[in-house]
Symmetry: D2
């Protein structure tokens, strides 16, 4: 399989389709990103990188960062984590507070905002400087210094963090939050404001396609079982209210962010990151999802 040819073909085909969507605009800084950007990077388990388009241009990884914090927290809490966060798909929007009330303060999964806040809270209990640890952790996973926090995006998100802050207080009311709320929310929006390019992202999640072993960090990052857990969660909950659709059309574990990035994994084969800022109405990148669909079709691959 010539991955470079594959990636290039997919890139061309998607470009030819002329797809469009809407750049996220809930904070002004994200809305500034040019909508026509499009890049893809595939990293095989030997560490070879195959790229196309804007695959070396950094973008805001947003919710993709939840994959990294979830990975980190496994070392701290292991199975105890699951008394604080559930692992089931949610039938509600990613930022709904109503479900949290019905379920008495236990978020349904770690990729909902409420669940990711619990994860960041857990990291804050463990680490003195959690955002610094998160940065170093991702750098190690990528095998290179690459993590930059976009300060403007972060400040802007902080100014619009009321809903997430409400969620954190609500979790605290249910005794599912331990640390200072402003501090945790700041850490949370900071890791959402991380910028990386497709190449760096594909490298940094490579261990999830490799049973937990990172060839870039040269160590087992996660046990095989924990790796499965994260991949299973991505498959069932990784794409907001489009997770079922993605499971069918692409059939790979993956995670999207409102910055237009998507990471996905073919276990035993490769990791991939795709980026294009225009989103569909469910909040997922139009071109990135189409690219992954075409790619798995070309590979004649499907989980199913």
């Amino acid at each position: 399989m010539d991955y470079q040819e594959l990636i290039s073909e997919v890139y061309e085909e998607v470009n030819a389709l002329g797809l469009s969507g809407k750049v996220a605009d809930y904070i002004p800084e994200l809305a500034k990103v040019p909508g026509d950007r499009f890049g893809m990077a595939l990293v095989d388990l030997k560490g070879n990188v195959y790229g196309a388009g804007d695959y070396q241009e950094p973008f805001s990884i947003q919710s993709i960062s939840k994959v990294f914090t979830l990975t980190m927290v496994f070392h701290v809490f292991r199975s105890k984590l699951w008394s604080r966060v559930n692992v089931e798909p949610s039938g509600n929007p990613f930022n709904s507070i109503a479900q949290l009330e019905y379920e008495q303060g236990i978020p349904r999964n770690p990729f909902l905002n409420a669940g990711a806040l619990v994860i960041t809270d857990a990291l804050t209990s463990k680490f003195e400087n959690p955002i610094q640890c998160i940065r170093e952790y991702i750098d190690e996973l990528a095998g290179q210094h690459c993590v930059r926090i976009n300060e403007e995006v972060m400040q802007s998100e902080l100014r619009h963090a009321e809903r997430n802050t409400a969620m954190a207080y609500f979790l605290k009311a249910y005794k599912n939050f331990d640390n200072d709320i402003q501090e945790v929310v700041k850490t949370y929006v900071s890791h959402c404001s991380i910028e990386m390019c497709c190449e760096e992202l594909a490298k940094s999640v490579s261990f999830l396609a490799n049973d937990g072993y990172s060839i870039f960090a040269n160590r087992e990052v996660l046990s095989e079982s924990h790796t499965r857990r994260i991949n299973a969660l991505m498959l069932t909950c990784g794409f907001y209210d489009e997770s079922g659709e993605f499971a069918f059309r692409v059939g790979l574990p993956g995670k999207s962010g409102v910055g237009g990035g998507v990471i996905a994994l073919m276990p035993g084969k490769f990791s991939i990151a795709v980026w294009s800022p225009e989103l569909n109405e469910k909040g997922n990148s139009v071109k990135a999802i189409k690219a992954l669909e075409i790619l798995t079709n070309k590979l004649k691959f499907s989980l199913f």
Copy 2:
């Protein structure tokens, strides 16, 4: 791989664990089934059957029947179906009516009761005698005459069908139901009251592990794409509010029923059916799920 040895080992190991649960009792007929029954049947893509325990004893397939009606309906409606039923996991119980109200009469997926009722309604629009067609269809898939409707279970479910009937009227209020409600509900409880044994079930869903081609019916039952769709739906929504947990622990597409049966598929390899009537609090068979978990561990298989 010696599948017979594998099945026998798994069977012994699960039995040794002494797991227990609670036989479904929402209708008296189901509660009569002896709780200690336990059987497994694996069918490979050549049609070989490997069994253990009570794998030839018929039981009530209940919600597993939704896989068959969903398969049937693909021929009738193809992609048009998805304007009437969504494909996303639900964060609510399988028989919740509240979510149906918030989502304006479009069930979130075809494995919720509301979604399965829409499917049965669609079959009723197409076939003169839908329950007869369903029976013949399953018989054909299994390559043998095997479908029996347990009349007592069916009558008992019919006497307790208020909630499903409410759901059907509610769907009709949203113009998402075309036929006579009593008739459709009767067809629905009839297909839920079908009895089959593990061997028959494993044969009849074999096509889902074989890209849609049934070696028992000697024909392509479903296109490759439709097969993927059903498998993706089973992975994300097949186990009620335990679908995420099952995806992690077992990692196979599958579907459970409150009769204690579970079917699961390893695409390209085999189909399997496991039955044991005692359920956990989420309504899934305790022993069947444990058996599948041990089996995939032994196979060192995981989607992820």
Copy 3:
């Protein structure tokens, strides 16, 4: 107080305002009613009638009929009724089924559709021919033969009764429904399809302004305590999601129907019925509510 002058003045003033709304159109028969109709009738405790405009033209009383069935059921069930229906205002639409699920099949009050269905079910348990009894009961209260069921409206409502039927099955699933559902729903839509004019309505509810004694039936219809209960329910729940607004603007116990009718009571003084078919967005008659607001202002009356 010259009530005739009062009524005439209010009638003129409301007419001069040129208010408009939208005639109910959820069934075609109701949509046919001319929107410009407007009538008022006030009946004092001596039985004198003071009318203005179309106060002798019959209209569809719709949900106002729930006041009569609730009154009837008090003789049958007395305080036992309150285990089947609650007495608290609802924050949800009159036909919401979600709240019924959260509250386990106990409707929040008897003026919600679900609550009124429970009432009609209770009457069906008691009377052989409940709709006939309801008709005779209202006739007796009005002191004259006046109740007509509009057969076309009734049939049309029956053809659009899916939501109410769903509600009834749902109640039955929670064991809060005893009789044949189709029969009860037919009785329910029949009493909603009763036509009466303002004069007849004002007479028939006169007992609610008179501590339960009807001067037209020449008997105590309801105990003082039960009368208070119904009036309190009307004040807190009588106007769908506008009950709080009505309590403030008018300050009288009352009940509206989507046919454009409103009844209201000044305890110890008079009963009144107002009709005008154009509704505001909450489903209450625009002119009728304005008329009652002006009337209580002129009387310098307020509960508060």
Copy 4:
């Protein structure tokens, strides 16, 4: 009418019933109050005070304070207020956040916590030192210096204010909150922590029984129309999820607090305050409600 005799009789009768409930314990300071306290004070429109039992012992007024802040805010916002808070009863608990989400950040009424927070936020926009203004305002209404903030209760509530803080952030996310959240929440818990005795409370709400004119402040505190609005709101929403029941059993506008206090009004006649700390399961004082029920029965008074 000899009000002193009336009050004394009611006091004796309630005491003889041996009613009991449960002192609020969601904060430790409230739980310390002896459960057997019981006092009543009635103030007629000439300013005469009639008392029984512990009517001069201060207690935590809690949600009764919402009546005062709502009164204050009328001068500031008048009818513009109603774009920020609705006036309809709620079918959900006083501290539910789910309904707030469904209704897009507009609380259903000013007596829900979310609604009262909006009111306190509005006062914060107007006054430099809002809690000081609230204290002086109530003192003026009572015609005497009487308002004390219990610092321990306040600090304790502040330490348990996560749910209210969550609500405030949520309101801000919907742009229905203008000021610093910590500051407003502190003002809110401060006015909830005010202590007053029955006599002082009855005096301070006397204007609500007197068309808005306070004989203690010697001025019109509120227009007649605004007075009606507040009384109507108390009747439909003043007793959490027992408002309908209270409207029937007592039939007076009133407001309760979890400290065990209840105020109520007979417009044109008197105001009354009753206190007893043991609550029923809906959070209302068992003895206070029974006392008011007996009192209105003795007066043969009913709104209805």
